[in-house]
């Protein structure tokens, strides 16, 4: 029954959003609107540990939440000027298209369709993810290639089912899927041993492991990632000023990591002789004016939110329960994909 309804809901939101699309797209409307109301309305996950989740006092934190906070810091010099709208996977695109939110930072994969036909603009990827497999450590598996004949628990609703079928077919292996619609039931079935492997985005597997298992070492995430999931914040098409601000707010965090600036050292760096650092922190003016905000916009981000490495380690890396290695999310200088264009 529930699924009939959700399918109908998709159909309904599709038609609603189709109506909404025609009414948007005034240059600068979002940027000016945000400035006027004094806060950023940010669409986030309903609760995904490490990316966006409220604590017991209702305070949101996570890698995606830091993105919202960075934009607010750049705009207002205050990272707290954010209001959060928790969104389900089905609600997220219509919420942005209809103008309900200004920025969508909700572990959303950048795809061609979403970037074009759905009327969105994606800003740089803030987390490179991919679909992986989690298995019990007792099985002693080292590679997903050893999963021939396995039973795999799959969550429906995205491309997950097709990705896993493609992977097994490409490697001439067979498997039995167990497809359960509700996250909790699926996880319960997996941890009860109904399936040999659980498949989802690697970051989500780590989040599930952190939340459900007493000893995380009992379960391993196999090294193979079988799909590309570049999780990227998104904005509506038609407001380049706003797109620019969100884009460069993220790049500022990456640039700060590259230059070794942290929220602790940024004050001391104000006197740095490095011309790149001077431009980034607004000591040499120009960047702020070009973006339409105060010259100290990047300083505010680094001071209040931190650089990308700080945000990563605090939310999903070594300093968190997820313990995700940097992997593809390391700086390009360390073999990763994080690369900020020159900020001048």
């Amino acid at each position: 029954m529930k699924s009939h309804l959700s399918a109908l809901a998709i159909a309904a939101t599709l038609s609603v959003s189709a109506l909404a699309l025609s009414g948007t797209a005034q240059a600068g409307a979002t940027f000016d609107g945000v400035k006027q109301k004094g806060y950023v309305q940010c669409g986030v996950n309903l609760g995904l540990y490490g990316f966006s989740a409220p604590d017991d006092k209702g305070k949101w934190s996570g890698l995606d939440v830091d993105m919202c906070r960075a934009v607010a810091a750049a705009m207002f010099g205050d990272a707290e000027k954010v209001k959060y709208t928790p969104l389900s996977a089905q609600q997220r695109l219509p919420a942005l298209q209809s103008g309900e939110i200004d920025l969508l930072a909700r572990n959303t994969t950048r795809t061609l369709t979403r970037d074009t036909a759905n009327g969105l603009n994606f800003t740089p990827t803030n987390y490179y993810d991919g679909q992986g497999f989690m298995v019990s450590a007792k099985l002693g598996l080292k590679s997903a290639k050893q999963l021939n004949g396995a039973t795999v628990c799959v969550l429906p609703g995205t491309t997950t089912e097709q990705n896993v079928s493609d992977y097994f077919r490409a490697n001439k292996m067979t498997f039995k899927p167990v497809v359960i619609e509700k996250n909790e039931e699926l996880n319960k079935a997996f941890f009860a041993g109904r399936c040999d492997a659980l498949t989802s985005d690697a970051s989500q597997l780590a989040a599930i492991r952190a939340a459900e298992v007493q000893n995380p070492a009992d379960y391993v995430i196999l090294p193979e990632l079988i799909s590309k999931e570049p999780l990227s914040p998104a904005v509506r098409q038609g407001d380049e000023e706003w797109t620019n601000l969100v884009t460069w707010a993220f790049y500022a965090m990456v640039q700060a990591e590259e230059k070794g600036l942290t929220s602790e050292t940024v004050d001391a760096a104000m006197t740095s002789p490095d011309p790149d650092v001077k431009r980034l922190l607004g000591v040499t003016a120009g960047n702020g004016k070009a973006l339409g905000v105060e010259e100290n916009w990047a300083y505010a981000i680094i001071k209040q939110v931190g650089n990308y490495a700080q945000s990563y380690e605090r939310n999903v890396g070594a300093g968190s329960k997820l313990k995700m290695p940097r992997g593809q999310n390391a700086l390009y200088t360390e073999g990763g994909l994080m690369y900020a264009p020159p900020m001048k």
């Binding site: 399918a7 004949g149 396995a150 429906p156 497809v179 039931e185």
Partner: protein, 385 residues
């Protein structure tokens, strides 16, 4: 004969007019909804139509009555889902009926234990949401040991959290003959039953119908079995890699759904059976007693035939409920029509088509069950002589 204004005073003309207006309004609303949806989908650049049915599905299905792989079409995937729905519904209807009749009779039993137990059963299963019951059954089945520590309940039959694995017969040319002999046996049994009834009606002498019919059914295949050289080779499940290989299997998802649907619906059927039996006047029982029939025979020959005409119509709606409730399968991972349709809709983005097809299929199934039950109802209805 009259002018238009006078015609409006005629009840018949106004009746027609109102009906025409109502029909026009309904059609206009339907047209608006369809065209609005199509326009908006077109604006969004969403493809419409049923062309996707012939594209490669690209996803696996956990269990299937046909041989299915990810390289088959969406159409085949949907058929697999439909067959899964029909399989669990058909098995559920049979099981729920048997269980429901037993519990319903138990509710009327003069044995205190049986009576109270049946009451407890009915009150419990009817008043706990079905979804919750399904999750409970599924959780229980998932608590069974892993394949490596599977319980061997009977030689060759293994119970684990991957389901029940059992040996199946290896195909042999002789099986066709045995099957043929079985069909012949069933036909012979019908003849025996008819002969027995005729003799009883003509002479009043009882005829051992049941033993004779059983013998008629079983003897020919047994003879054929011996004649073809007793082809009895079993494909026994063995542990290999992650799971058992070979043999047949029933998954925990199917079992949990079947038990859940049957147990739940049986609660309602029991009440229907009870009310049906109570609807037969007590004088009928007394008349049976006066004729010297045993209580079992009274129930079978006097009460149930009369109770059936009260039971069948509400029973139909319980069968429909069970079939429609099988769509809760998505909650526990049984790949039924809804589950497969949802995945197809997600992958193709053609949600409207998928939902429309699902609705149409459930409508057809429900109408077919209704049609069959109405036919059966006419058969058991009392014929006034």
């Amino acid at each position: 004969m009259t002018n238009p204004v006078q015609a409006l005073n005629s009840a018949r003309v106004r009746g027609w007019l109102y009906q025409a207006l109502f029909l026009a309004c309904t059609l206009a609303v339907a047209w608006y909804l369809v065209s609005n949806t199509l326009t908006n989908l077109a604006n969004r650049g969403v493809a419409t139509g049923l062309g996707f049915l012939h594209r490669e599905a690209g996803f696996e299905i956990g269990e299937s009555l046909l041989s299915y792989t990810a390289s088959d079409t969406y159409l085949k995937a949907l058929v697999v889902g439909l067959l899964n729905t029909l399989a669990v519904s058909a098995a559920g209807v049979v099981l729920a009926t048997v269980l429901g009749v037993l519990i319903g009779i138990g509710r009327l039993s003069s044995n205190w234990m049986v009576n109270r137990f049946a009451t407890l059963y009915v009150e419990t299963v009817r008043n706990v949401p079905l979804l919750l019951q399904l999750v409970v059954w599924y959780t229980i089945l998932n608590r069974l040991p892993s394949p490596r520590e599977a319980l061997e309940i009977l030689p060759g039959i293994f119970l684990s959290n991957r389901g029940m694995k059992f040996p199946v017969l290896v195909e042999h040319a002789g099986h066709g003959w045995i099957l043929l002999a079985l069909v012949a046996g069933i036909a012979a049994a019908f003849a025996v039953v008819r002969h027995g009834r005729r003799r009883r009606e003509a002479t009043g002498k009882p005829f051992p119908t049941l033993p004779a019919a059983i013998a008629a059914v079983l003897l020919p295949p047994a003879l054929a079995f011996i004649a073809t050289g007793a082809p009895l080779a079993f494909d026994v499940p063995v542990l290999a890699g992650f799971n058992f290989e070979g043999g047949g299997s029933v998954t925990p998802e199917f079992t949990a759904l079947l038990i859940g649907l049957s147990v739940y619906t049986a609660g309602f059927i029991a009440e229907i059976v009870r009310s049906g039996i109570l609807a037969v006047p007590h004088g009928q029982t007394e008349a049976g007693l006066a004729l010297g029939l045993s209580p079992g025979k009274i129930l079978r020959l006097v009460i149930l035939p009369q109770a059936l005409r009260v039971i069948v119509p509400p029973l139909t709606s319980q069968y429909l409920n069970l079939t429609k409730n099988s769509s809760l399968a998505v909650a526990i991972g049984y790949p039924d029509l809804v589950s497969v349709s949802n995945t197809s809709a997600n992958q193709t983005g053609q949600v409207v088509e998928a939902v429309a097809m699902m609705m149409l299929v459930y409508l057809i199934i429900s109408l077919a069950i209704s049609g069959f039950m109405n036919w059966y109802n006419r058969r058991v209805a009392l014929v006034t002589r």
